[in-house]
């Protein structure tokens, strides 16, 4: 088991991981004739729980799988690969109010992710990997836009906190 955890502690080459994710896009289409997208799983849960949809559907199952796969990875790797705290947020905001401030920022960030990805028709996986692989002009435009925005805002945040 130690050898497995040693292997998992280092990232695989980016092109290997990319090929695996690309093949998952192909496999979702080859088995279910569906477009891969993780935000759709969250949306399926919300729509089911709010009575907007009669069932959870395959997308909620896919999201459950993402959770389970990460759990399995963590077990085989012998621990979490997520760093201590929560990145720049917990390094920047410390002290008694940390949970409140970081929690509110993550909540607001989450709102932007949920609303924005729904409006854009997908998230990093739905538009950035799957939609572009299918050749959708909307996905190419959305991916270019969210990449450029995320890079610009990250640089802006970096200039404010350093």
């Amino acid at each position: 088991m130690k050898r497995v955890s040693d292997l998992l502690v280092t990232r695989p080459p980016a092109f290997v991981l990319g090929a695996v994710l690309g093949l998952i896009v192909v496999a979702v289409l080859a088995t279910l004739n569906q477009r891969l997208g993780v935000l759709g799983g969250y949306s399926a849960v919300v729509e089911r729980l709010s009575g907007r949809a009669p069932s959870f559907g395959w997308r909620a199952s896919f999201l459950l799988g993402v959770f389970g796969g990460s759990l399995l990875f963590s077990a085989l790797a012998g621990g979490s690969t997520v760093g201590a705290g929560y990145g720049w947020l917990t390094r920047t905001f410390t002290g008694d109010w940390q949970v409140l401030v970081v929690g509110v920022l993550l909540l607001l960030g989450g709102v932007l992710i949920g609303y924005g990805a729904k409006a854009a028709g997908g998230c990093t996986s739905g538009n950035g990997i799957c939609g572009t692989a299918l050749g959708s002009p909307a996905s190419f435009a959305a991916t270019a836009t969210f990449m450029a925005t995320a890079i610009a805002v990250t640089f802006a945040i970096d200039s404010l906190i350093t």
Binding site: L17, V20, G22, L32, G69, L72, G87, K118, A150
Partner: protein, 160 residues
């Protein structure tokens, strides 16, 4: 083979892969967005290339989906304003949290409880979008807003 089991298995592979690639670590994502680490870009480029060739091979061979039996097919969308505005909003959220929907689930699975805030936010964002769409679709009932151009289909139905 049930649709649900296949979806869980493929989602499991996806979750395992993004965890191994350390996309669940906000600091890793931040390095990529600060252009200090090319990993994300090489990964996405390869994934798109492999997917692009693979899905076209399926269609060319006239493949039927193994579980549903349907002929493999898909449709694409032209660029609309909502794709650009929505993506820009999403990009801001991604930069603040250094996470997107799949890694958020992975973070929770790996015991990062901070992600509960992000997940709650994503759910609120989805509800706000759905309510906005429901209000917009209800509007054509009033005489002033009954123009045919406003009777667009619910965008949520197209969300992957």
């Amino acid at each position: 083979m049930s649709v649900r089991l296949v979806a869980i298995a493929l989602g499991g592979l996806f979750g395992f892969a993004i965890s191994w690639g350390q996309f669940t670590d906000p600091d890793r994502i931040r390095e990529m967005l600060l252009l200090e680490d090319a990993y994300l870009y090489v990964m996405m480029g390869t994934a798109v290339a492999v997917g692009f060739v693979g899905v076209r091979a399926l269609r060319r061979m006239g493949t039927r989906a193994l579980v549903t039996g349907e002929p493999v097919s898909w449709t694409t969308s032209g660029v609309e304003r909502r794709h650009l505005v929505g993506a820009a909003i999403f990009g801001v959220g991604w930069a603040v949290t250094d996470a997107c929907p799949a890694p958020i689930a992975g973070q929770l699975a790996q015991g990062t409880l901070w992600s509960l805030f992000t997940i709650a936010g994503v759910a609120i964002g989805i509800v706000l979008f759905l309510r906005g769409e429901e209000r917009r679709l209800a509007r054509p009932a009033t005489p002033r807003a009954s123009a045919p151009s406003q009777a667009r289909p619910l965008a949520s139905a197209q969300t992957p």
